[in-house]
Symmetry: C2
Subunit: 189 residues, 2 copies
DNA sequence: ACCTGAACACCGTTCAAGT
DNA sequence: ACCTGAACACCGTTCAAGT
């Protein structure tokens, strides 16, 4: 198992970060989970900042893969657009976890710089994906697509954040439905 | 100054919480700011949970006052609606501070119950205010007003959270403008 | 009534030492 | 190469003691 220690640390830290944020990454409990001592983590990651950065990077890479899959599975761009919030919904379904990036946006002032860079990368790949989908849908011009993509990403992240304070995932679905009804998230009709 | 120690603690804690969250409320540095020792805080507040709860309560009470003032100052409900995001904008202007409630929404899983109750109260008074303004504007029926009010509150909170990761307040203004253009935040025309 | 010093268990981190 | 025990300064909290 020792060859996978690095992976196990990364997985445990990611899970902790989605529940408790960067500040909630606890070396002693991660070490317990992995089955090593907390000092051993420093063999694999030189600091908490480095671990946090690796977690955030892994997180947006995984998200990027899922986004790409949505575009592969759904040829209709309007369908892709409707699917976008499902990524954030999945986190909530999974033990009320929050998007790592939203959590770290809150903690922004206390984050080491190497972590904030990855947090911005997460927002960037989400916005870039939305821009592309809006483009496929022939929606607006380049400038308005960029604006709208940012607005959609932001509103969906907000919905996840606020819905979290209600145990009920229904709240999240309601908010997304409102975004669609209002036209913030455009539909084909 | 000793008669105001309680107030000074509350003020310092509120400021810290908007910058670093509940977890970032540090008894030793608050005590330093107030000019007492950290153990003395426990004379005024029996626990960190009690202090956090008092801070969050004070916060939504203050917000409630500002919201009421907007309705007093602007007789036109459409104008009130356009003014709503200004509360969140002011926090950002003020040293990139975050709405306490958004911060605590992120930290939700780690919050003592007496604090979460106040976090929900903040969301409730914002939504209630928006419902009332939409009602004054004769917008939709009771059910759709409730839904839309939640969507607006959520999206604006999200805009503040995400805009925080860019030093630029321009980003926040852009997002709000997009919400208005898309129709999420309705206007009279 | 209001404040303090000293102690507690806990955190991230370091480092010399083990295999 | 990979891990550990012991120590560091830091946290919230307690409590007996001061004025």
């Amino acid at each position: 198992m020792s060859e996978n220690a690095r992976e196990a640390i990364l997985t445990a830290a990611k899970s902790a970060a989605q529940l408790h944020g960067y500040g909630g990454i606890n070396f002693r409990s991660i070490a317990d989970e992995v089955g090593i001592k907390n000092a051993s983590i420093y063999y694999h990651f030189p600091s908490k900042a480095a671990l946090g950065s690796a977690v955030a990077r892994r997180y947006w890479e995984d998200t990027s893969t899922v986004l790409a899959q949505i575009r592969t599975t759904h040829s209709d761009p309007w369908e892709c657009l409707q699917q976008f919030p499902s990524i954030f919904r999945t986190s909530l379904e999974n033990a009320n976890r929050l998007c790592l990036s939203s959590f770290m946006a809150a903690e922004y002032e206390d984050l080491p710089e190497e972590v904030t860079a990855e947090v911005r990368a997460f927002a960037d790949i989400n916005v870039a994906w939305l821009v592309r989908v809006l483009e496929d849908a022939d929606w607006g011009d380049a400038h308005s697509r960029e604006r709208r993509a940012r607005a959609i990403y932001t509103a969906v992240a907000g919905a996840q954040l606020i819905a979290r304070t209600h145990a009920d995932i229904h709240q999240f679905d309601d908010l997304i439905a409102s975004y669609k009804e209002s036209g913030l998230i455009p539909s084909s009709s």
